[in-house]
Amino acid sequence: MISNPYTSQDWIAVAPLFIVGGVALVVLLADLLARKYANRYVSMFIGIAGLIAAGVYAAYSYGQPPHNAFGGGFILGGFSIVFEEIIIIAAIFSLVLYSGIGREDRVAGSTALMLWSTAGAMLMAGAANLMTIFLGLELLSLGLYCLCGLADRPTAREAALKYLILSSTASGFLLFGMAMLFGATGSVTLASLVAPGVGANPLYWMGGGLFLVGLAFKLSLFPFHVWSPDVYEGAPLPVTAYMSVVTKAATLAVFARFAYAALPPASTHALLMPFYIIAGISMIAGNLGMLAQTDMKRLLAYSGIAQIGYVVAALAGGTQQGVRYAIYYLVAYKFMNLGAFAVVALLSTDKEEGSRISSFHGLAHRHPVLAAAMTFFLLALAGFPPTAGFLGKILILSVNVSAGYAWLAGLLIAGTAISVYAYFKVIRLMYDRHAPRAQEVVASRAPLAYVSVAICLVFIVVMTFYPYTPSNVLPMVK
C-alpha cells in the first residue's frame, strides 16, 4: 500500500487553479446545451462566476502562514495569493470584452482557453520549482497560441504563428537555462539555488542568464520585445487585453521569486544587473516606439514594454518595499490598461476598427463620456495625477533612490517625458476641433465594457488617495 505523500492542505493550496480549470470544462458543456440561446453570455457568465469563485477561495487563505505544497513545488503565501488575485481580476476584465467581439460560436472555446491559460498563470504565481514554473508557463502559452489566431483576419493567423515560434524559442532558452541550473545544483527546487557554493559553478551563471533571457522575452523587455506589437495587433482584442496583463504579471511573479529568494546573496547583484539595465532601456525604447504608432493596440503594446520596465525597476535592489511598490504599480497598470482596452472595445465591432488611432479622431464630439474616460486612462499611463500611475511612479522613484539605483529613476523620468507626447497625441486627436463632425457613431456591442471602464476609473482614483500595499508579500522559496 503506497501512502499518499500529499496532504489535503497541498490540494487546498492549488484548489483555485482546479476551480478555474474545471469551470472551463463546464463552459464547454454549457455551450453544447445552450447552443440555441445567447451562448455568448452563458459562456461569459459561467467563466466569470468561476473566476470569482476561485478568487474568493484564494482570498480565504490570505493572512495564514505560508504553506509549502507538493514538496516545494507550489508555495501558498501572501505573494502568490496577491498575484493570483491580480491574474484573476485581469482575466475577468478581459472576458467581459467578449460581450461585443468575436464570432458567437467561438466565444465558448475562447473562454475555456482563457480559463486554462489563467490556471497556468496562477500556477506560475506560486511556483517555486523549475518544473512547476515551466508547467505553468506552457499552460499559459499554449492557450494563448490558440487564442491569438481566433479571429477572421490574416493578421490574427500571423500573430498566432509569430507568437508560437518566438515564444517557443524563448521557452527553449528558459528550458535550457533550467537544465543548466539543475546541473549546477542537482535539484529542481529554487530553494537549492540559494546554497552559497553554487556561485562558483559556471553552469549556474549560464543557466541563470538563459533563464533570465526567457523571462525577459515573456515580459517583452527591450531586445526581446519586437514580437509584442505584432502579436498584440493581430490577436483579438480581449486576448490582447489579457496578454498585456496576465502574461506579464505571471512572469513577474516568477522573476520576483527568482530574484528575491532564489539566488545566493553574493552573486545576486552581478546576475541581475543586466536584467535591470535592459529594464531601464525598455523604458526608453518602449516609449520611443509608441511615438510612430497608428494602431491603438500597437501603441499599448509599446506602452506595456515601458510600463513593465517601471515595474521591474521597482524590484531593483531587492528591498521589501520594492516588491510592494512593484505590486502596487502592477495593479495600477492593470486597471489603466484594461480600462483603455475596454474603451477600444466599446468603439469596435468584430473588425476592431476601434483599435485604429484614426477612429479616435474627434471622439470627444461624438462620445464625450468615452473620450473623457480614455483621456483619463492615458493620463494615468503617462503618470499624471490624480491617478495611481502618478503615485506609483513616486513610489518607484523613491525606492530606486533609496536602494541606490538612481540611474533607473533617471531613465524612468526620461522615458516618461518621451511617453507624454505619444499619449497626448491620442488625447489631442480626440479633442481636435477640426475633426469631421459627421462621422458615424459606432454602435457599441459591448455593453458590459461600460461597467469595466467605470470600475477601472474608480480603482485608479481610489488607489491614489488610499495607497494600500499589503505587507506580507515577500516572495520566498522555502
Binding site: P385, L397, G410, I413, F424
Partner: protein, 496 residues
C-alpha cells in the same frame, strides 16, 4: 475649509459640461459665483482653514494637508480674483467649455498654493498643466504650441517628482511646507535642489527655459492666458520661496550666481525683445519674462527686504498682467488683429477701453502709485542692501526699458491716427468693464497701501541684516515662518 477651495471649482468645472454646448450666460454666472465664493471664503473663514488627512506612511510620510496663510493666502486671493475676472470676460464661441476649463484650472492651482505637503504640491503641479493644454488644443493658433507648453512643463514636473521622491526619502516626510524647517544636508542636497529648481525655472520661466512661454501666451485664448500668466507663472516663484529657500539654502547659496545671472539675462533679454516685437500679446509675454526675472533676482539675493518686495511684486504682476491680457483680448476681438502695425487710434472711438488699457500699462511700467512700483522699489532696495551692487544696477536698466516698450504698446494701439480699414466697433460693454475693474482697483489700492501685503502674515524683517554674503542659517530659519503666516502653523500639523 481649504479643501472647499480646491474641490468646489473642480466639481463645478466638471458640472458645467452638463450644460448645453452653446450656453453663454448660465455657465458664466456659475463660474463667477464659484470664483467669488473662493475669493471670500478665506477672508470670511479667517483662520488658515487647515485640512489634513493621512496619505502615505511609507516610503516617507505624506499627508493631504492644505491650509492658507501669508503668501499662500495672497496667491489664493489673486487666483480667485483673476479667475472671476477671466470668467466674466469670457465671450467666445464655446464659452461653456472655456469657463469649465478656467474653473478646473482654478481648482488645481488652489491645490498648488494651499498644499502644505510637497507630494500634494507635486500632484497639483502636474494637474494644473492640463486645462491650459486643452485650451491650446481647442483655441490655439498653432498646433505645436500645445506640445511645447505641455512637454516643457511636464518635464519640469517630472523632475519635481523625482526631487520630491528623493527629498521624501532623505527627509522622512514631505508634509513640511510652512513648518519649522531644518535644511537638508548631504551630497544629495544639490541634486534635489537642481530638480526643484529646474521645475520652478521652467514654470516661471527663467531665461534659457522660457521658449515655451511667448508662444503659449500668444496662442492661448485671452481668459486662459490672463490666469496662466498672472497666477500659474507664480507657482514657480512660490515653490522657490516655500520649498527651496527653507530646505536647501546651502545649495541655493552655492548656485546663486547661476540664477542671478539667468535672472539678469531674463530681465534684459525680455525687455529688449519686447521692444522689438509687433505682436501686442508677445510684447506683454516678453515683459512678463523680464518682470519675473526681477522676482527671481530678489529670491536669490535672499535678503528679507527683497523677499518682501518679491511678495508684493508677485501680487502686483498678477494684477496688471491679468488686466493687460484681458484688455488685449478685447482689442483683438474688436479689431481682429493684435499687430501693432495694423492697430492705432483706438482711443478716439473706444475711450473706456483706452483708459483701462492705460492704467494697466502704467502699472506694468512701474508708475508710482500703482502696485508695480512698490514691488520694484522694495526689491531693488533689498538687492542693493544685500551687497549685490552690480546686479541691482543692471536690473535698473530693464525697468527703464519697461517704460519704453509699454509706452510703445500704448501709443501703437491707443494713440496715433485711426486706421481706416479695420472695423470700428463699440466701446467696452459694462460686463467687459466689470471684468477688468477689480484688477485695476486692486492695482491702485495696493499701490497706495502696499502695507496690506507687506504686513499681513508677511511680517517686517525682524532685525538688521546689513550686507549679507549668501545665506545664513538665521535668515533661512526666519524665511518659512514669515512666508507662511506665522509660527502657529507648526502646532497645527496633526500628522507625523
Amino acid at each position: 475649509m481649504s479643501l472647499v477651495l480646491i474641490l468646489l471649482p473642480l466639481v463645478a468645472g466638471c458640472a458645467l459640461f452638463l450644460l448645453p454646448r452653446t450656453d453663454r450666460m448660465l455657465s458664466r454666472a456659475i463660474g463667477c459665483m464659484v470664483a467669488a465664493i473662493t475669493f471670500f471664503l478665506p477672508l470670511v473663514a479667517g483662520n488658515n482653514g487647515t485640512f489634513a488627512a493621512h496619505w502615505l506612511s511609507r516610503p516617507f510620510t505624506a499627508s493631504l494637508h492644505f491650509a492658507w496663510g501669508g503668501l499662500s493666502l495672497w496667491l489664493v486671493l489673486l487666483l480667485a480674483l483673476c479667475t472671476f475676472c477671466a470668467v466674466l470676460a469670457t465671450n467666445m464661441a464655446q464659452t461653456r467649455t472655456m469657463v469649465a476649463l478656467l474653473l478646473m484650472l482654478e481648482g488645481t492651482m488652489m491645490g498648488v498654493f494651499t498644499a502644505r505637503d510637497i507630494l500634494a504640491f507635486a500632484l497639483f503641479w502636474d494637474l494644473m498643466l492640463i486645462p491650459p493644454f486643452f485650451a491650446l488644443v481647442g483655441w490655439g493658433e498653432h498646433r505645436e504650441t500645445a506640445w511645447r507648453y505641455l512637454i516643457y512643463n511636464f518635464s519640469g514636473g517630472l523632475l519635481l517628482l523625482l526631487a520630491t521622491a528623493a527629498f521624501g526619502v532623505i527627509y522622512g516626510s514631505t508634509d513640511v511646507i510652512g513648518a519649522a524647517a531644518h535644511p537638508i544636508v548631504g551630497g544629495w542636497a544639490p541634486w534635489i535642489f537642481a530638480g526643484f529648481a529646474f521645475a520652478f525655472a521652467v514654470k516661471t520661466p527663467l531665461f534659457p527655459l522660457h521658449t515655451w512661454m511667448p508662444a503659449t501666451y500668444a496662442d492661448s485664448p485671452p481668459p486662459m492666458v490672463s490666469v496662466v500668466s498672472s497666477v500659474q507663472s507664480k507657482a514657480g516663484l512660490y515653490g522657490f520661496l516655500v520649498i527651496t529657500l527653507p530646505f536647501m539654502p546651502a545649495a541655493m547659496a552655492e548656485w546663486r550666481w547661476i540664477f542671478i545671472t539667468a535672472s539678469l539675462i531674463s530681465l534684459l533679454y525680455g525687455a529688449f525683445i519686447a521692444l522689438a516685437q509687433n505682436d501686442a500679446k508677445r510684447i506683454v509675454a516678453y515683459s512678463s519674462l523680464s518682470h519675473l526675472g526681477l522676482i527671481v533676482l530678489a529670491i536669490f539675493s535672499a535678503n528679507p527686504v527683497a523677499l518682501q518686495g518679491a511678495v508684493v511684486y508677485i501680487v502686483a504682476h498678477g494684477l496688471f498682467s491679468a488686466a493687460l491680457f484681458l484688455i488685449l483680448g478685447y482689442i483683438e476681438q474688436r479689431k481682429d488683429t493684435r499687430s501693432l502695425v495694423r492697430l492705432g487710434g483706438l482711443g478716439k472711438a473706444n475711450p473706456k477701453l483706452a483708459g483701462a488699457f492705460t492704467i494697466a500699462a502704467l502699472g506694468a511700467l512701474g508708475l508710482p502709485g500703482l502696485a508695480g512700483f512698490v514691488g520694484e522699489l522694495v526689491i531693488l532696495t533689498g538687492v542693493f542692501q544685500s551687497g549685490y551692487f552690480w546686479p541691482a544696477l543692471i536690473a535698473l536698466v530693464p525697468i527703464v526699458l519697461a517704460s519704453a516698450y509699454m509706452l510703445r504698446l500704448l501709443q501703437g494701439i491707443i494713440n496715433g491716427p485711426q486706421v481706416n480699414d479695420i472695423p470700428q466697433r463699440r466701446d467696452l460693454t459694462w460686463i467687459e468693464g466689470l471684468a477688468v475693474a477689480p484688477l485695476l482697483a486692486a492695482l491702485v489700492a495696493l499701490g497706495v497701501y502696499p502695507y496690506a501685503v507687506l504686513s499681513s502674515g508677511v511680517a517686517a524683517p525682524s532685525g538688521r541684516y546689513g550686507i549679507s554674503s549668501g545665506f545664513t542659517r538665521h535668515e533661512v530659519m526666519g524665511a518659512p515662518s514669515f512666508m507662511m503666516g506665522g509660527a502657529e502653523l507648526g502646532a497645527e500639523r496633526r500628522f507625523k
